[in-house]
Amino acid sequence: MMLQYFKDLESGIAAKIKENPDSPNARKKYALEVTRLGTRLYSGENSVAWCGVTAPFDLLSAMGITSCFVEFIGAMLASTGAIGTFLDHAEHSGYAADICGYHRSVLGSAKQGLMPVPDFLIATSCPCSGGLAVMENLAGIFKKDLFVLHVPQDESEKNVKYLADQIKQMAGFVSAHTGRPIDEAALRRAIENTNMTREIMKEVFELASHVPSPTNGHDLSNFGIVMALLLGTEAAVEISKAYRDEFAARNLELKPGMPGEKYRLMWIQNRIQFKNPLDMLLREQYRANIVVDELNSITWEPIDPDDPYMGLARRAISIPFNGNIRRRVDHLQELALSYKIDGAINPCHRGCRQGAGARGLISEGLKEIGIPVLNLEVDVVDPRDFAEGQLSTRIEAFFEMLDART
């Protein structure tokens, strides 16, 4: 089912780009690569690794592995609208309904035999303990080998070295499974692509912070987190360039992404992954533009192609969900100030202890710089009890408050 879904989507998007090659198409190029990744994962023709969110995807791709964090599949299942059956299945198999929906859906899908059997799995302790648990469970279900990366909490040299050593061991584990030693030239190329993508993404984010913003609230949704999967490839460089050129042109021609942008918002953690009316409500009723998502930023330095492991380790440690809450709040404050936002929305994804558990302190932290936060109670992948009415009322009250401030 998913293979067909990705294939149909891929040909549809490719046709649209072909139809109109000169019109702005950065998001389409991005979506095309995402669907291609999906096709590769489900085609049965590639070596596949299911991974945790902070695995080094560029290294894995240089080693000939099609790799992906499993939450991506959860998000895809949500966007197809078919996720309910997988969630039901997981719950009937004994997984508690209050664990993260991304993980529940993936477990449901694996239990139903609808998830590609990987060659091996790589778990990462960051961002969450739920993510570790799902990988251990999947390794048990698929009866495949598991490698665990423990991502320490801060970027001290000692910690970076510790993770770098683990990543080296991981590369050995991968080689042992593929029977191929690491191809140093391919790794170098991948790291160079990663660095190039990093530079261009930085420009993209800088352009996006322009007032009014060249983004339309949707252009960059899920972008930062999903681009991690494409790092190391030429496609990632191309996608970033397309965004950069498109945003630069919009800024130059004074053609904002959302004409009449009234409020600028920051979205904390994950977007709601299934079709829902809130996006339109924000856009049309309140002229509120989500100009930045928490993970749309570059938190890491270029990686040294001569010694990539330390840089890969530093990058994994640097993600804002890692470490203590002050670190995350500082990052959010920085984004809030550079994007000149009026308010932030935190969906407090129901099963996420890492994220929802930080709700109160994130609100306090943004209050320090005068930014109000709207905390919603929603499961971002589970549409089964989406409380549209309640959420709209909360959104309405939030904008009344913002109106009163202006």
Binding site: A133, D145, V148, H150, N324, A356, G357
Partner: protein
């Protein structure tokens, strides 16, 4: 023997207690007990495990002895968020959050050794005096002794060789992690030699108990009142806690401590990457060995590490043909009490 007066709080069974003791403090486990009003959810979120919410409630409501500091382990998301929230409500407290590896391989042991060294530096600074190796060695000896006593007592009580109530065991455990280790050792020694010999009278159905934590002694009485006889456990507020540190002279002391802690009987958050889902296997092996006819798993609500592993744990019990009752609770007696009928029905089923 003199004893340490000031307390340092801790919340996880992986905490290196001998180091805290060596620095001149008494480790005090902040158990999720008491009746502090429910306020932690506002700072954290209601969907966090009641273990950490209750600990935070105790801090918010000052339901704690004076603490010279707190040591948290980064064992799961909830614990990490607890450390953040603790710092928020008690910003002046000395506090350290130690990173806890997920596995127990060589790299992890060496990393965790570094984390324990960080703890040594921190507690030395809090106390204003350097903690020396001999003191850590003494701390290890002391806690090894506590482990030995507790293990012996546990074995005897479970085997019915001590004519004492099962809840006594939990009271002892709670004392061993909240009070002076020296006083505890003296009392435990007395208890072991005291004439409480003779068969315990409980004729209930033998049951194995597992889960994260169940610190309320009354909970054990409740199980017994339902017709169960607890004859073994795998609880972090129970037998899993006591694991002597092995020092072999080849490794450094701190490294030995790190290795022993990482290799202790694991809870659900710890992974053996070579055997995914090992926890289920460990539990069924222990349950069978105890001679239980069935098992009760007490799982804390919203605890990802345990909830996520429950289906594979269930599978193991099913495969082995051992009946299993899972109770989801919030660490309180009340929440177990609400499930009394289920417990009774389970025991009745086992007794047929």
């Amino acid at each position: 023997m003199s004893d340490n007066k000031e307390y340092i709080g801790f919340a996880c069974a992986y905490t290196p207690l001998p180091v805290i003791y060596a620095a001149g403090y008494t480790p005090y486990r902040i158990l999720p007990m008491g009746d502090s009003p429910d306020r932690a959810g506002h700072i954290l979120h209601d969907n966090l495990c009641p273990h950490i919410k209750r600990i935070l409630d105790r801090a918010i409501n000052n339901d704690l002895p004076d603490l010279a500091g707190v040591v948290f382990m980064n064992s799961c998301d909830a614990m990490r968020r607890l450390a953040d929230a603790w710092h928020h409500i008690r910003p002046d407290d000395n506090m350290i959050l130690l990173d806890l590896p997920v596995t127990a391989d060589e790299l992890s042991v060496s990393f965790f050794t570094g984390e324990i060294k960080k703890l040594i530096d921190a507690v030395s600074e809090w106390g204003g005096k350097k903690t020396v190796t001999a003191e850590i060695e003494y701390g290890i000896l002391l806690y090894n002794q506590i482990s030995d006593f507790m293990n012996e007592l546990t074995e005897k009580i479970y085997a019915g060789e001590k004519n004492t109530n099962i809840s006594v065991l939990q009271e002892l455990f709670n004392r061993s992690v909240t009070g002076s280790p020296i006083t505890f050792i003296e009392d435990a020694r007395k208890l072991l030699s005291e004439n409480t010999q003779g068969k315990a009278t409980n004729e209930g159905v033998p049951v194995f108990l597992f889960g994260h934590l169940l610190p309320d002694p009354e909970a054990f009485l409740l199980f017994e009142s339902c017709g169960a006889k607890i004859i073994g456990d795998d609880l972090c507020t129970g037998s899993r806690f006591f694991n002597p540190v092995t020092t072999d002279g080849k490794k450094g002391l701190v490294e030995s401590l790190a290795e022993s802690l990482l290799l202790r009987p694991p809870c659900a958050r710890t992974i053996d990457s070579t055997i995914p889902g090992k926890i289920g296997n460990i539990l069924i092996t222990k349950a069978k060995k105890s001679g239980a006819r069935g098992a009760i798993g007490h799982v804390v609500k919203f605890c990802d590490p345990y909830l996520s592993r429950l289906p594979s744990i269930r599978e193991e019990f099913q495969k082995a043909g051992m009946p299993l009752l899972v109770l989801e609770g919030d660490c309180t007696l009340r929440s177990i009490g609400q499930q009394q009928t289920r417990i009774e029905a389970f025991i009745e089923m086992l007794s047929k």
